[in-house]
């Protein structure tokens, strides 16, 4: 294997990794406030992409993306208010099953609204065949967009959760809901807010990755599985770690193609998920002590 081929696999791995990472970030937000995994996260990604494609027929690209993100945020809020808000102290298992139900519901609704056709936003820069080349190594500029937007999102989120009052209130709800309520934090509002935020980030992810991966009514499921793996791998709740974990997984998958038949690519990611769950459930970058205190 020559050096250029090595870097081409690396570039492919980075592409996979950033897609997984940006989806994983959405999982982390809801986990951070509610302590549950929202299995409808992939559907938020799909909704964002689909809405943006539809709106792009009338609006310029940035406006279409912005509106799609806002619309998906509203949907996220409505879903939380309709299905979750009125529950009094729901168990983790019950919430998870509700989110699975929501994901099926959104998927079927999308099938009725948009049909089964495959759609995509245009590339943000250049076209399908535009590449940035270094020797014989090529990478699509869209990948750089995904990396850039993931990075900005993570920085903003870190700032939000650590330095703003609202962000800290959300984290307080995750650590101990009752204590947070006693301090005067409206736990219910925080949960709604976390759904809004993660729906928005999911939608943004759906928009930036759609030129690469395309979007279809059921494309959320596949993305959610990988995003979930990456979120677990990095340690649930930690968005910076999600990016690192995403890159690790993407690069491993890419190089697995080099040594093994490509049919085994997913075996690699699922094996890693199982290994992490058995050996280090708190994730590579997660704290073992902290995860012991959590319910799930």
């Amino acid at each position: 294997m020559n050096i250029e081929l090595f870097f081409q696999y690396l570039a492919a791995g980075v592409t996979y990794g950033t897609i997984y990472a940006i989806v994983a970030i959405g999982f982390n937000i809801i986990y951070n406030t509610t302590g549950i995994i929202n299995f409808a996260q992939g559907e938020f990604v799909m909704l964002g992409g689909m809405t943006a494609v539809t709106l792009h027929a009338f609006l310029p690209l940035p406006a279409a993306i912005l509106s799609a993100v806002i619309i998906t945020m509203i949907i996220g809020a409505l879903i939380e208010i309709t299905f979750i808000r009125w529950l009094t102290s729901p168990s983790v298992l019950r919430m998870i099953i509700i989110t699975i139900g929501i994901s099926i519901f959104i998927r079927e609704a999308a099938l009725h609204i948009w049909g089964e056709a495959v759609r995509a936003l245009p590339y943000f820069t250049g076209t399908e065949v535009t590449v940035i080349s270094a020797g014989d190594v090529h990478i699509s500029p869209q990948v750089l967009w995904v990396i850039g937007i993931s990075a900005v999102t993570v920085v903003l989120l870190t700032f939000f959760f650590n330095y703003t009052l609202l962000g800290r209130q959300m984290r307080a709800c995750s650590s101990n809901r009752d204590a947070a309520r006693l301090c005067g934090i409206s736990a219910k509002n925080m949960v709604t807010l976390s759904f809004v935020l993660s729906a928005g980030i999911g939608a943004l992810a759906g928009c930036v990755v759609s030129p690469i991966t395309y979007v279809q009514y059921d494309s959320g499921t596949g993305l959610a599985i990988k995003g979930f793996t990456v979120a677990i791998l990095g340690g649930l709740g930690n968005s910076t770690a999600a990016i690192a974990a995403g890159l690790i997984l993407g690069i491993l998958e890419s190089f697995s193609v080099w040594v093994m038949p490509t049919a085994f690519k997913d075996v690699v990611s699922i094996s890693i998920l199982l290994l992490i769950l058995f050996v280090r459930p708190s994730g590579i970058f997660g704290s073992v002590e902290a995860s012991r205190l959590k319910e799930f």
């Binding site: 081929l5 081409q8 696999y9 570039a11 492919a12 791995g13 592409t15 996979y16 897609i19 099938l111 049909g115 089964e116 056709a117 495959v118 759609r119 995509a120 245009p122 076209t127 399908e128 065949v129 590449v131 080349s133 014989d136 090529h138 990478i139 699509s140 990755v209 690469i212 991966t213 395309y214 279809q216 059921d218 494309s219 499921t221 596949g222 993305l223 998958e253 890419s254 190089f255 193609v257 080099w258 038949p261 490509t262 049919a263 690519k265 997913d266």
Partner: protein
């Protein structure tokens, strides 16, 4: 609750009792189609096509004076559902024939059921195993995978390409294509230098195409029906693959071309003639049928006609022709009539059935198409060199 259930049973009994009275008047045709679910791009246009045709036939007074009663069951591409619907249609509804299912997996699941119950089954699915070995009561309308592969190999030879990198998805369609490619490659002197299977839900295939490129392939042959087929060409061009890219007949949907944009330029693939109906020469026997179907479908549903809906069109056409020919609605007579049908012009090609051939199409049912400026165009045939 109990009362409710009893009422339902009562209602059902009434319906079953009433059915024979109706049957004298109408010809019952069942259809098992994947109207929703992962194969809805097949089943949905098929169901619409059948509804449109039956409405049209009945408006014109039916076949031999009897109207058609169409019973469509949505299998959601699940073989298990297809099986129970098949039994229901055969045993309860006592249909004359079943059209569908949409996918090969479902068809294979009910092939033996239809055979045992002596029920005519006209499948809209592609796999060769449906009619090879021949089952007495089972027919199919789509073209053969084998013919698609031969078309591609002939084109490769004409272009003097011999090293192929094969990519296929892990679905029934991908698997069937891969098998045919592997089987036929030696015959045409094609060397398979890479042979990779990817997941049908793959979101990016850069690593896969990198592997194919590194293997020294002169051409990529991709076999899938998912969005992945657009991703393959895009990624191949992005990493600087300069060779020819071939796709299967699963590429016959303009959406995939739109999705791949500029990268789709120059992609060559075999397809039924429906996609290029407007540009066919007037001498083509299929031209009139294709243009009529396209016009009717598109004006009724405001949606682009696809070759898949055409498969259902052909199935219904064959059935009506057979009923007319047999001049009866007796199952045996109709079945025998299908086997004797010759020169039926459908959307997929000209059907010539026989006791050994329950598909009836030859290799000419496929046309090689090329993507030019985001549209499908007929590729100039490589035949010129053969004339001596």
């Amino acid at each position: 609750m109990k009362a409710c259930r009893m009422f339902a049973v009562l209602l059902l009994t009434c319906m079953i009792m009433a059915a024979p009275a109706l049957a004298k008047e109408t010809i019952k045709v069942g259809a098992i189609l994947a109207v929703t679910g992962p194969a809805s791009f097949l089943g949905a246009p098929e169901a619409k096509t059948l509804e449109m045709m039956v409405e049209d036939i009945n408006k014109k007074g039916g076949i031999r004076g009897s109207k058609i009663e169409l019973i469509i069951k949505d299998s959601g591409a699940s073989p298990e559902k297809a099986l129970s619907f098949a039994k229901q249609l055969i045993e309860e509804d006592k249909v004359l024939a079943i059209i569908g299912p949409s996918t090969s997996g479902e068809t294979m699941k009910i092939k033996s059921v239809a055979e045992e119950a002596k029920a005519i089954l006209i499948s809209c699915a592609a796999a060769e195993v449906i009619v090879n070995p021949v089952a007495k009561y089972v027919f199919k309308t789509p073209q053969m995978d084998k013919h698609a592969v031969i078309k591609i190999f002939e084109q490769m030879k004409a272009m003097k390409l011999s090293k192929a990198g094969v990519l296929s998805s892990n679905t029934g369609f991908g698997k069937a294509g891969k098998e045919q490619i592997e089987k036929l490659a030696p015959e045409y002197g094609i060397q398979i230098v890479a042979n990779e299977v990817y997941d049908k839900a793959a979101t990016d295939l850069t690593a896969e195409v990198t592997k194919v490129k590194a293997s020294g392939a002169e051409a990529i042959i991709n076999w899938s029906i998912e969005p992945a087929q657009s991703i393959v060409i895009k990624n191949a061009r992005q990493i600087g693959f300069k060779g020819q890219i071939f796709q299967s007949h699963g590429f016959g949907n303009i959406e995939y071309v739109k999705a791949a944009g500029e990268a789709a330029e120059g992609v060559i693939f075999p397809a039924g003639k429906l996609l290029v109906a407007d540009t066919l020469p007037d001498s083509d026997p299929q031209k009139a049928v294709l243009i009529n179907y396209k016009k009717d479908y598109e004006s009724k549903f405001k949606d682009e006609a696809s070759t898949f809906g055409g498969h259902a069109y052909d199935a219904m056409l064959i059935l009506t022709k057979a009923i007319e020919k047999a001049n009866s609605t007796d199952k045996e007579a109709v079945r025998n009539a299908i086997e004797g049908l010759k020169g039926v012009v459908g959307t997929a090609g000209v059907f010539n059935f026989s006791a050994q051939d329950h598909n009836g199409l030859d290799i000419n049912a496929f046309e090689m198409l090329i993507v030019k400026k985001g549209k499908f165009a007929v590729l100039a045939a490589p035949e010129t060199k053969k004339k001596k």
